[in-house]
């Protein structure tokens, strides 16, 4: 019997993602991949995977999945959500597990992830990963072109996601101190490549204003609402050129759009600036209505920030530690169980 997770309810927009599909942009293939690659890596680290193994990206509202494997180790990192494990056939009351912590689930148990808070996305990683063939070198889902992931689309009820590993490895569960997911006070940008298509006043507006994230944002681009940017006499149309991760394109209405994981490879609107790579994961976490302001930095600063983020991720990987359950301080339970058994255990330990 193959090991799998069965989708009971899919959540709002749950897709399989990894670190993306670079190498095919010259054929028009977007890179895709996890929006918040810090939380994505954390989820993988918690279940003992390599950092780039495909995991489920959950947006806003999590899925409910039933375990069709002897056991499976999972972890959820990113936005916080109520994560409940219901026993088979709803027997018993179930248990609640914590994000940023690994957990082992057994056959028939049902994992239910609720509404996210603190971030627009969270990642559900499984030990060993999903047994889904990569397309063009990646498991990432690009729904627009139906490439990769599970049948090229977001999950639906009754989908069966095969697991590479039939059962969870025997080991202790681990925990990560939650990474600081707070958005930066100012998102750092490098001006260009077409900042010369804007008036000096428009560049001042961009750096001095606060924008808010529009509801019309998706994995392709984050649309911003706020003061429009005025184009110079050169206008907003350019002869199409390449688009980078974080490119801020400004169409005729003057409102910036930050291009994210599923961005098109080329485009014909001018791009005033590019968000630096170190600040991209925090953008992926922003929910509609979130406020966002920008600060211009030089390219050396941006590259140094990329190295800093890599070293922060390495430090995070090194900070994984076994879960230690705090002693319960409920007085009644202390009297009923812990006090007595604790004495016995202490003695037993000494005799062994």
């Amino acid at each position: 019997m193959t090991a799998a997770l069965r989708v009971v309810t899919p959540g709002l927009m749950t897709t399989l993602q990894d670190l993306g599909r670079p190498g095919y942009q010259r054929l028009g293939v977007p890179v895709s991949g996890a929006l918040d690659q810090v939380s994505f890596r954390a989820a993988n680290l918690l279940v003992g995977n390599g950092q780039g193994v495909g995991a489920l990206e959950i947006a806003y509202q999590g899925p409910t999945l039933s375990v069709e494997a002897d056991s499976v180790r999972i972890a959820v990192a990113g936005g916080r959500a109520p994560i409940d494990v219901l026993a088979p056939n709803s027997a018993g009351s179930g248990r609640r597990i914590a994000p940023w912590e690994s957990a082992r689930l057994l056959r028939g148990e049902v994992l239910s992830i609720g509404a996210l808070s603190g971030s627009a996305v969270a990642y559900l990683a499984v030990e060993g990963g999903f047994a889904i063939a990569p397309k063009l070198g990646s498991q990432s889902t690009l729904t627009r072109a139906a490439i990769g992931g599970f049948e090229g689309r977001a999950l639906k009820a009754a989908d069966v996601l095969p697991l590479r590993q039939a059962a969870a490895a025997e080991r202790d569960e681990v925990i990560l101190p939650s990474f600081d997911l707070a958005p930066p006070k100012r998102v750092r940008i490098v001006l260009g490549p077409q900042d010369d298509h804007f008036t000096p006043a428009a560049l001042r507006t961009l750096l001095a204003s606060t924008y808010s994230v529009s509801r019309a944002s998706d994995r392709m681009g984050m649309r911003l609402e706020g003061p429009p940017l005025e184009h110079s006499h050169k206008g907003y149309d350019i002869v199409s050129d390449g688009i980078a991760l974080g490119s801020i394109q400004v169409p005729g209405n003057g409102l910036p759009i930050i291009l994210l994981a599923d961005r098109q490879t080329t485009g014909g609107y001018c791009k005033v600036a590019t968000v630096i790579s170190a600040d991209i994961p925090s953008l992926g976490r922003l929910t509609p209505g979130a406020r966002i302001a920008f600060a211009a930095v030089g390219i050396e600063t941006a590259e140094a920030a990329a190295r800093q983020l890599a070293s922060d991720i390495a430090a995070m990987a090194a900070s994984i530690s076994p879960v230690r359950r705090p002693f319960l301080i409920d007085a009644k339970r202390l009297m009923a169980e812990n006090l007595v058994s604790g004495v016995v255990n202490a003695r037993g330990g000494g005799d062994a």
Binding site: P22, G23, Y24, Q25, R26, L27, G28, V29, P30, K135, L136, R144, A145, A146, I147, I189, V190, L191, G192, P193, I238, V239, S240, D241, G242, I243, A244, L245, G246, S247, Q264, T265, T266, G267, K271, T274, V275, I276, S277, A278, I299, E300, A302, E303, A305, A306, R307, A310
Partner: protein
């Protein structure tokens, strides 16, 4: 010719810009640099994406820096004018019947030509694949005569059928799959332009030359059935130069 400019696109991409027009000379230099860059195998370069007038070099800031990359690319800019871009020559069958070429009559009206002239001029002009973009496998073809310098449609279609051949701004695109789109649809090809089972999955590549072979509706339907049975294989007619 003006020397190319280096422009930053954040800390993961560097733009090498040769100009701001759609122009075969500019495009030849972009494609020549793309070929030299690929051969050079520079450390930290993830991939390079040629467009009409610039090359976007995507890089990993943990492995290189924009400063080092500019130093490494500068010597590659020598002698690009003389480079000849090798490409394949294709003749792509397409049906211009009004049931598939949804805007043929409208384009005829806008260009002042009759529909047969539109078909003749569009199909017989050798068009260059300047770049691929927008969708996986979608080519931007340039070189149509001036009558085809049309603005995009005022009301873009929500769904352009797969295989549609469409024009605007003296260029053509072919939609490899159903997609929204604002160009004027002249024809439809039964040939798949994108097949994930193939390596590379895109039929066309920047630098290729394309003409179209007009099909009757019946020929189109037969070829479409062959394509559905995986029995339609289009091979290039040759190479250029």
């Amino acid at each position: 010719m003006a020397p190319p400019r280096f422009l930053p696109a954040g800390d993961t991409a560097l733009v090498v810009e040769f100009g701001d027009r759609v122009d075969r000379g500019l495009s030849a230099r972009v494609l020549a640099l793309a070929q030299k860059l690929e051969a050079a195998q520079l450390a930290g370069v993830v991939e390079a994406v040629p467009t009409f007038r610039s090359l976007m070099v995507h890089y990993d800031p943990l492995q290189t820096s924009q400063r080092d990359l500019q130093r490494a690319i500068a010597p590659l800019l020598q002698g690009l004018e003389a480079a000849e871009i090798a490409g394949r020559r294709w003749r792509i069958p397409a049906c211009y019947d009004a049931s598939l070429g949804l805007d043929l009559a409208d384009v005829a009206r806008r260009t002042g030509l009759d529909p047969a002239q539109v078909v003749e001029r569009h199909s017989q002009t050798s068009q260059l694949v300047y770049m691929m973009g927008f969708l996986p496998g979608l080519p931007y073809l340039g070189g149509l005569p001036g009558e085809f310098a049309l603005a995009r449609r005022e009301n873009p279609r929500v769904k352009v059928p797969k295989g549609s051949v469409a024009v605007a701004m003296s260029m053509s695109v072919v939609y490899p799959q159903e997609s929204p789109g604002g160009w004027h649809i002249l024809a439809r090809t039964p040939v798949p332009l994108w097949d994930m089972r193939k390596g590379p999955p895109a039929l066309l590549a920047a630098g290729d030359q394309v003409t179209f072979l007009p099909l009757s509706l019946r020929e189109y339907e037969l070829m479409l059935a062959k394509a559905a049975a995986d029995a339609l294989v289009l091979t290039p007619e040759g190479h250029h130069p």
